[in-house]
Symmetry: C2
């Protein structure tokens, strides 16, 4: 159980990891991206120990799951229906246990079973802090989503509730909650799961494509809420040069979410939510909502310099676009 990488050496580490990868892949300098009939999208996301995760809140399986999920989330919100492959860059201190590394790959493998794709290559090095850098390749569907594709009149739609991951983190590290309140066991469970094993709405994109009214062109804006719901909406406003109006009564919150307004802050800026945030023509948004009950219409887009308002035209004050900035 406590065998470390320093004990076994790199060759043995790579041998142990073979089973998590496409057959034979460890034995060459590069990997071939196979069975491609469509345009490809690529994304790189990295997670660093003590910045994105800590041993206190996250098991190595969960780190592996989240590293894959966050990449898949970026691919989906850009219009990739089918995940093709991943490369994995690892930095690990020599005292890391083999068990830890195998658990990391077990988590990645579980996520790939859920979302698709396979590991086809990578690199590893020693270093003082653990780091996982994943590059994901996906096949583009008929709908290329960009942040910059929103137009006035669009509805803003999201694929799920927000703030759960932030609450989950607070519960895991026994952080003080925004107000003293008794949380339901269901909410506690959903929050911890959202933080440790976030789902990604990988099937919503398929429905979005299938339900497009024939009269409309293939034009929609999309991003994910990995940096928080407001950051996602701000990204759309800035890239599309428009304003967003959010409906105060339609904030995408868990049914058991505390009513106190202070808790809205975590819904808006909690981050790590990995939901789709879309800007769509009204007709398309309404059909999508009727097809997928979990989709939520949260506001609309209007002309004007990039800004976000509540539907009573009050400017959103708690807004903190620097929340997930690293420097």
């Amino acid at each position: 159980m406590n065998t470390t990488l320093a004990d076994v050496g790199e060759t043995e580490l790579l041998n142990r990891l073979k089973k998590y990868m496409r057959n034979g892949q460890i034995n060459d300098d590069t990997a071939e991206i196979t069975s491609i009939e469509k345009k490809l999208l690529i994304n790189t996301d990295l997670v660093v120990e003590n910045i994105h995760f800590s041993e206190v809140t996250t098991t190595p399986e969960d780190i592996g799951w989240k590293a894959i999920a966050s990449n898949v989330s970026d691919l989906i919100c850009s219009g990739s229906e089918k995940i093709n492959s991943f490369t994995v860059g690892l930095v690990l201190p020599p005292h890391t246990t083999l068990q830890w590394v195998e658990s990391l790959y077990t988590g990645m493998k579980a996520a790939m079973k859920e979302f698709g794709g396979e590991i086809i290559g990578g690199d590893c090095s020693s270093g003082t802090n653990k780091m996982v850098s994943i590059t994901a390749i996906g096949e583009l569907s008929s709908l290329r989503l960009h942040r910059g594709n929103a137009l006035p009149g669009d509805y803003l739609v999201t694929s799920g509730n927000h703030g759960l991951s932030r609450l989950g983190l607070a519960l895991l590290i026994s952080e003080k909650l925004p107000t003293k309140v008794k949380l339901s066991q269901g909410l506690i469970n959903r929050a911890i799961k959202a933080h440790q094993r976030p789902s990604v709405p990988h099937k919503a994109l398929k429905t979005l494509i299938e339900c497009k009214p024939k009269s409309l062109p293939w034009r929609a804006a999309g991003t994910d809420s990995s940096d928080g719901l407001l950051a996602a909406v701000e990204g759309i406003c800035t890239s599309s040069n428009c304003q967003a109006i959010l409906s105060k009564s339609s904030l995408p919150k868990d049914p058991d979410w505390p009513k106190n307004q202070i808790w809205n802050e975590w819904c808006l800026n909690g981050g790590e939510d990995y939901e789709l945030v879309l800007s769509l023509p009204k007709e398309w948004a309404e059909i999508l909502k009727s097809e997928l009950g979990f989709m939520k219409i949260i506001g609309h887009i209007k002309e004007g310099s990039p800004n976000i308002f509540w539907d009573n035209l009050e400017k959103i004050e708690n807004y903190n676009s620097k929340r997930f900035q690293h420097f």
Copy 2:
């Protein structure tokens, strides 16, 4: 000059880096891989501060150059004639200066000007040690090179001299040389350049493809000598389940390389040489050598369990396959 990332924040950092990337690319979750008509190869290589480089021996420009060059080297030795694109994952301490990051990208840009490709995406995070993780995409030529494609009777061919980068490192850190000897200024210059700005034989692959005798199939083994010449030959022997015989009188050494046999060690195991190491049918190898004067026939392949011998059948003793192992 001394403005740090902590001073300017992530948004400003990304704004500054825009000019090094494909137009608009910084403004979306993912990037599209464009103009693809061929199969794609992918490679991920990462470099870590104090493991792969230190501020003493390597400027940020050189780190950028080498990070791109090492990825290109892997693509070329697998049969990619045309470099398509790169993603860049960065971990940087907040006290890193903007100047340092811009210099890193200046070095990457210089390497891309030389070898092809463009930066299309990436990610960055703070962290205690600098790390650069690059994923490179290349288009496969008509010749897919694998380590495992060698056959008895093949000639072993390499694209250049070995040991120069190791000597360059020793000179830069004033390390004791294998023997006391006066080095020529030309050798000193070539060694330091090989360590700081290694070239990659990106044009040799084109010639290799063009000069294939029509009677021969598209079968050749290839790898690069980034982990050292012997490690490259060992990789071919192990993957192809064969033996290599190296000609003691044909070691690929700089003309001014010291004659003393102790210096052979750095030629064989120095590492970071980024030359092609190929196993080819004799006829093809000889034509290649006549087309490209810098190609060197260094030995041949025979049947037998994986091992490397000198041409007097003496087993190669200095062999140290663990040299570039991290754990």
